[in-house]
Symmetry: C2
Subunit: 102 residues, 2 copies
């Protein structure tokens, strides 16, 4: 039985999350929309949460969210699954997600 | 006796502050540094809180902070005084400033 492919190790580590990077990542309507769609904490496929945009925009926004530490990603075949790093963000910046998810 | 020149009316109005704009304004190291220097809520001159940067960068960062509603400005002769819109931000996004100034 094949194991479920593991998520990429979340990057950056929780103690390296930088507030300014996280704020910048959240400070865009498309990225805020993606984050709100991931609010439950459950993993979702890219297609479920990313609005219909040119591929280069999608790539840019997902990279910004990933590199700032807001989301984790798990590639599975041709699909990419995303999840909000709820616990890590809450640990490092308590209250921020509650505020942003309103 | 000359009256103290009034601050420009803060813009946008408190009920028009947009979270995504405020997050984007805060999501830059220079702007976050300015905001932290204004943390007390007291007015400060531009020279006291803005790091040494080319004038075009200063203009850009101050405009971003002003237009998002993070700061108010008061021109006085050749000087420009800045203040954090603490109360307005707290009213609209409770807890955000505490988190950012933390």
């Amino acid at each position: 039985m094949a194991a479920t492919p593991a998520a990429e190790p979340p990057r950056p580590d929780v103690d390296r999350l930088e507030l300014v990077e996280v704020l910048a990542a959240l400070g865009h309507p498309v990225r805020l929309e993606i984050v709100r769609k991931l609010a439950s904490g459950a993993e979702a496929s890219c297609g479920e949460v990313v609005p219909d945009l040119p591929r280069s925009s999608v790539t840019h926004h997902l990279r910004t969210l990933y590199e700032s530490g807001v989301i984790a990603r798990r590639p599975a075949g041709r699909r990419l699954y995303l999840a909000l790093r709820r616990e890590d963000l809450e640990l490092r910046f308590p209250g921020l997600l509650a505020l942003v998810l309103g």
